[in-house]
Symmetry: C2
Subunit: 351 residues, 2 copies
């Protein structure tokens, strides 16, 4: 390699082109020798991913897909990070209501706030889902979009998971973070398509996954443009749901935000079923993956009867159609990143 580069330099004329190609070629060789997904155990699942990527990136091959069309979509809760014992965004909302309580003396007498803040579980349960939604909405409205984003990043600096005793944004799945990076290195554009709140995720997704805000699709509340008292414009978050990016809402969200059908989709629950169907119904090579939570020692084990992340109909279709199902216990060497991996990821995170 060195010799040919040196002689190209002496020839002069084609230096730019030849040298750039030589450098690119060296990178390809280096890449092929280093396992891009070291946290995955060898097996049919890992092979199915690597083979799919090889097929769609093989220039001149029957299944080649131009980089612009290499759209990959990932559910977030239970697919890229942990979702137990409760969706992390719900835990955030409850912590926020506690933190906001001193500014809301009226909550001392108003349900469901009174029941929740005083620890009256019976009264809170009596409020049912409606009460919970009201608590979550209180944490997500009545403030500007900038204030909300700060409340999320503040929460991540001090809140810790009850079982793993780590900040929530450290409970991302290391094998999936590697998969995202591997896809991007292979010319894919990676997107989150999640039932979670889009503004909640954007506050930390870039650092955790290398996915920039504009590639995060999620549920949203109504936002209103206003001129503040100082004449400066703000966007106020209202207590009104605008779009639920879950179930059949996922292909709708993909159409609305991305405007192109993905060629790869990964989920973990029936909320991802239609997104997987929509992805697989396109022309050409396609990949559908499901993370099956089978590891109650390192994480959690749940599927068909679970309240959170129920995996039932999508699993049946995966079996019938031969989609790739990741067995967390068997296919993943590690689940969560070690401390030094977190640092490396944050440094590498690129839009």
């Amino acid at each position: 390699m060195l010799v040919s580069v040196a002689s190209a330099v002496r020839r002069g004329l084609w230096i730019g082109l030849v040298v750039v190609e030589a450098v690119a070629f060296s990178c390809v060789i280096a890449f092929a020798q280093i396992d891009p997904m070291p946290s995955w155990n060898d097996g049919v699942v890992k092979t199915s991913i690597v083979e799919f990527v090889a097929r769609v990136t093989a220039q001149g091959g029957a299944d080649f897909v131009p980089p612009a069309e290499r759209i990959a979509v990932f559910d977030n809760d239970g697919t890229l990070w942990c979702e137990q014992p409760e969706y992390f965004q719900a835990l955030f909302a409850l912590d926020r209501v506690r933190a906001m309580a001193p500014q809301h003396p009226e909550w001392r007498e108003k349900e469901p706030f009174r029941a929740f803040l005083s620890g009256d579980k019976q009264a809170l349960a009596a409020q049912g889902e409606k009460g919970l939604i009201e608590l979550v909405e209180a944490a997500h409205s009545g403030m500007t979009t900038d204030e909300f984003a700060r409340s999320v990043t503040d929460w991540l600096t001090h809140a810790k998971h009850p079982r793993f005793n780590r900040p929530y944004n450290e409970l991302v799945y290391q094998p999936m973070v590697e998969l995202l990076a591997y896809l991007r290195a292979s010319g894919f554009k990676t997107f989150i398509v999640s039932g979670g709140g889009v503004e909640f995720m954007r506050a930390w997704a870039e650092k955790a996954y290398g996915i920039p805000p504009e590639q995060v699709v999620g549920s949203s509340g109504v936002v209103k443009f206003e001129l503040g008292a100082d004449g400066k414009p703000v966007l106020m978050k209202l207590a009104k749901v605008e779009f639920v990016d879950d179930g059949p809402g996922k292909p709708v969200g993909i159409n609305r935000f991305i405007g192109r059908r993905p060629i790869l989709a990964f989920g973990n629950s029936d909320g991802d079923w239609q997104m997987l169907q929509w992805t697989m119904a396109g022309q050409g090579a396609r990949f559908a993956g499901i993370v099956h939570h089978t590891d109650d020692v390192r994480e959690y084990a749940y599927d068909r009867p679970s309240k959170i992340g129920q995996l039932d109909k999508a699993w049946d279709e995966a079996k019938a159609k031969g989609w790739t199902v990741v067995d967390m216990k068997q296919d993943w060497k590690v689940v969560f990143p070690a401390q030094d991996q977190l640092t490396g990821q944050a440094r590498e995170a690129k839009p």
Copy 2:
């Protein structure tokens, strides 16, 4: 340059790094010598753009902005392409209703279709805006998203502008196409943020501007996920407005789709006013630009009293705050691309 590269090659060790840097450096030199915006006349407007880009890209400078935050947003109608004598999307819709009429015998007796199809201008005028909206909706609903996209690309292959006698997607502004490419070459990510229909624009924006579907923000109708008769999922377009990306809706759309505040925004009418305000209200270096239509020889001249593309309040604020106002007649060497430029653009268009 060649000598130092050759000696670096002989030293061997740092070849990759040094050579890549040398090549990159040559590119920078070449870039600086070639005018990236040859269709702009020299003057304060062109200078304001070039100086802004230089400031935010100068590593170590006070106004440096990391590439991930170099978000640039552009209105479409009247900013990137012509919007006279009527919004092109409205002309598309009317052509579509004519083309769809044989499949809709019931339209012969039903207003506003009867009036429009029979050329009964008086009866159509009596229907007012409601009638026009009904015609536009008919062309935008009752079909799948894929079928709609095909109807747009089909239309572009045969429909021609009544004055310029060219396909509508050739009536993009060559100086703005150059600006978009210049910004991307300077590390910006370019977005459309338009009151136009998002699915209408996505059908041709990538080829015309080099802006991929996922970077097009626009108005939208409700779309529904369904399983077709063959069990294949489709997205059906319903006759119901979902989101109007105009006026105060533009900062809302930017928040929803992009999730980051732009540092550069370009518009041409009061529909872009809040987007410009929102962009300028952020921290650090900012750029707001307005295309003023002053050229009724090469294009059209209109501003304050215009029904389409009214420019009044945003113009006043531009004058008061020193935003950049492009005088089309004075600042642009050409308006529309020549045939050979179109070919070049299509070839270069990259996501």
